[in-house]
């Protein structure tokens, strides 16, 4: 129950009444917004940790394969050898394939699916959301009904249907994930466009003869970017998990090694050889964690309310 103590009522006002430290800027010691954002990001220690982690994972999956050239599909040792075995430091799976090789060579597929699915989701979501938010009226009505349709679809089932129809490959998996996960981006983009559209600088842009295209892409979009970037990073994490889920159900390209595929193919041996599933699981976890931490940091960096503190 909200108590009507004076202090509670006053809380919202205190912020407004706080003295302004607004200054006339005389010296050109100005900070570019991007640089300011970088400074704010650096203040979030967890986000910096996430960034370091992600860089490590990228090096592992993009650079290390050139040095650790064991084929992840080769049978290198006795099946289900535990970690620490000679030639297979992370152990082997049920066919005797090197798990370290799987981690090193399979990461790029996982990351590729995650990134391209997220990119697709952002492109679809942004197009739908920006048009709906900017034009409003019947455009908004139609586009939002379509968005709602996709929102109520059982996503996993729908993605499975797509993958099953077009035979599993990295591209189809990414497509399927992208198609089912753009609605959150669309809703966010729409609300941002709706908000910014009503601001005076949009009226100003129209009164200096800017075209609709210019207003959407060069005026509103840059201002709507911050929350969308955050949403996009979260979408990458979501897509990686989704890929793992599809692989676990056997819906991934059997000729391409990926972390999700490793978990999926070894799921029957979970009880006997924990490492076959746990090790790729840990890497998926770390990747999603790093991306989420970065998203959180970007949120801080682009949230003007947190500045000046």
């Amino acid at each position: 129950m909200g108590r009507n103590d004076m202090s509670e009522q006053a809380n919202s006002q205190i912020q407004a009444a706080s003295p302004s430290f607004e200054t006339e800027v005389d010296i050109l010691t100005i900070e570019h917004p991007l640089r300011e954002a970088a400074r704010m990001f650096a203040r979030n220690k967890a986000a910096v940790g996430g960034l370091i982690l992600l860089v490590g994972i990228l090096i592992l999956t993009l650079v290390v394969p050139f040095f650790y050239t064991v084929d992840p599909f080769d049978l290198v040792w006795a099946p289900l050898s535990p970690p620490g075995t000679e030639n297979a430091p992370f152990g082997t799976d049920y066919l005797g394939r090197d798990i370290l090789a799987g981690i090193v060579h399979g990461g790029s597929a996982t990351l590729a699916v995650g990134a391209s699915a997220a990119l697709l989701a952002v492109v679809i979501g942004l197009s739908v959301g920006s048009l709906a938010g900017y034009y409003g009226g019947w455009v908004d009505e139609v586009l939002m009904r379509i968005t709602e349709f996709f929102q109520v679809l059982p996503t996993l089932l729908f993605a499975m249907v797509i993958v099953a129809l077009f035979r599993p490959s990295v591209a189809t998996v990414a497509f399927a994930i992208g198609v089912v996960s753009w609605t959150a981006v669309a809703r966010l983009a729409r609300s941002e466009f709706l908000r910014i559209r009503s601001l005076d600088y949009i009226k100003a842009a129209r009164s200096i003869s800017s075209s609709n295209r210019r207003i959407i892409w060069l005026v509103i979009l840059p201002n709507a970017m911050p929350p969308l970037v955050v949403q996009a990073t979260l979408a990458v994490g979501g897509a990686i998990l989704f890929e793992a889920g599809l692989s676990f159900l056997g819906l991934s390209d059997p000729n391409v090694m990926s972390w999700g595929f490793m978990i999926g193919s070894s799921r029957d041996y979970l009880m006997d050889a924990w490492w076959t599933v746990t090790i790729p699981g840990i890497f998926i976890f770390l990747t999603v964690l790093s991306v989420s931490l970065i998203g959180d940091g970007l949120n801080d960096a682009t949230n003007p309310k947190l500045r000046e503190r």
């Binding site: 006002q13 003295p19 302004s20």
Partner: protein, 330 residues
């Protein structure tokens, strides 16, 4: 003169900022006498609202802190009492109304509930009695059919009605001091006139002291008997309203009066340029040794930039802090 009801002495409020400590209020003395309306006037960032928050002891800590001074209500120093005692003072002996009534009212409770809640909180009693009082208060602030309107929610009311509700809530516990922080800034001018009439009327009926914080010299002239002019957290001039309006001593006061085009019943063809106070209120972190107004003052001398002016008495109950006065004599 009578004993002051509320007396602020040598108040100093500091804020920690990225650029160091900002002294947002410094050496402030204000006395409130029973039965008066006192105006506090100045630009935004001059410490008007911070003064109000200090009286309510609502300065956000951290980054702020009250570093020095006393605020005595009937001899009791509000800066020394416990937080529990202070909760009893707030909304009871001293209450406050704000600029934007929409954000100060809780949107999910009816206005009657909110007023009754305040009464229950401070005075106890039965729910039914509190509701009855709430309806009476709404009637007192000129809301038609109060027993019906009491069941309405803030969003169902106009801005003027909401401000009346805020006033009803603030007066529900018969406060001795009512602080009105820019109470009409968000309202239309005909509605502002109604609210001013209401405040004057209630002041006469209840005898509460009203502190009116505003940037509008016209509102001060209309409402207040005495006025305090603030600049950069310092009091630069205070005195009776008529005296200050006709005979301002501080260049900032002169500027504040001259910078607004005052409505005249008999406008002339010729229009003289408005007094221009150049620049803006300086950032509180960058105040130097001297008079804070010196950088914007057309009459600033070397002394002004080096030394903080002392207060001189220039008339009955009329004080000013400016080196020009010191030089010329009162």
């Amino acid at each position: 003169m009578a004993e002051p009801l509320l007396e602020i002495k040598d108040l100093r409020v500091e804020f920690d900022t990225r650029d160091g400590v900002a002294t947002v209020i410094d050496g402030l003395d204000i006395s409130l006498y029973p039965g008066e309306i006192l105006g506090i006037v100045g630009e935004s960032g001059c410490g008007k609202s911070m003064t109000a928050l200090s009286i309510m002891r609502l300065v956000p800590v951290p980054p702020g802190r009250i570093a020095k001074g006393t605020i005595r209500l009937d001899g009791e120093d509000l800066l020394q009492v416990s937080e529990k005692r202070m909760r009893g003072v707030r909304g009871n002996a001293i209450s406050m109304i704000f600029q934007e009534p929409m954000t100060s009212l809780n949107p999910v409770f009816s206005v009657g509930d909110q007023i009754a809640e305040t009464i229950l909180l401070h005075e106890g009693g039965s729910k039914r009695a509190a509701w009855q009082r709430a309806v009476e208060m709404l009637d007192a602030v000129g809301i038609p059919v109060p027993e019906v309107r009491a069941r309405e929610y803030p969003h169902q009311m106009s801005g003027g009605m909401r401000q009346r509700v805020m006033i009803a809530m603030a007066l529900a516990c018969q406060p001795r001091v009512l602080i009105a922080d820019e109470p009409t800034t968000a309202l239309d001018v005909t509605v502002q006139a109604q609210i001013f009439d209401l405040l004057k009327d209630l002041q006469k009926k209840t005898g509460a002291v009203i502190v009116l914080i505003t940037h509008d010299m016209g509102a001060i002239a209309e409402m207040a008997q005495r006025v305090v002019v603030m600049y950069a957290g310092r009091k630069v001039e205070d005195g009776p309203v008529d005296e200050i309006l006709t005979n301002p001593k501080h260049p900032y006061t002169t500027g504040l009066i001259g910078c607004v085009p005052h409505l005249s019943a008999d406008p002339s063809e010729e229009r003289v340029p408005l007094t221009d106070i150049p620049g803006v209120v300086p950032p509180m972190t960058r105040l130097g040794q001297g008079c804070p107004f010196a950088p914007r003052c057309s009459e600033a001398m070397d002394k002004c930039r080096l030394e903080m002016p002392t207060q001189s008495v220039v008339g009955e109950d009329h004080r000013v802090s400016c080196w020009l006065i010191e030089n010329d004599g009162p």
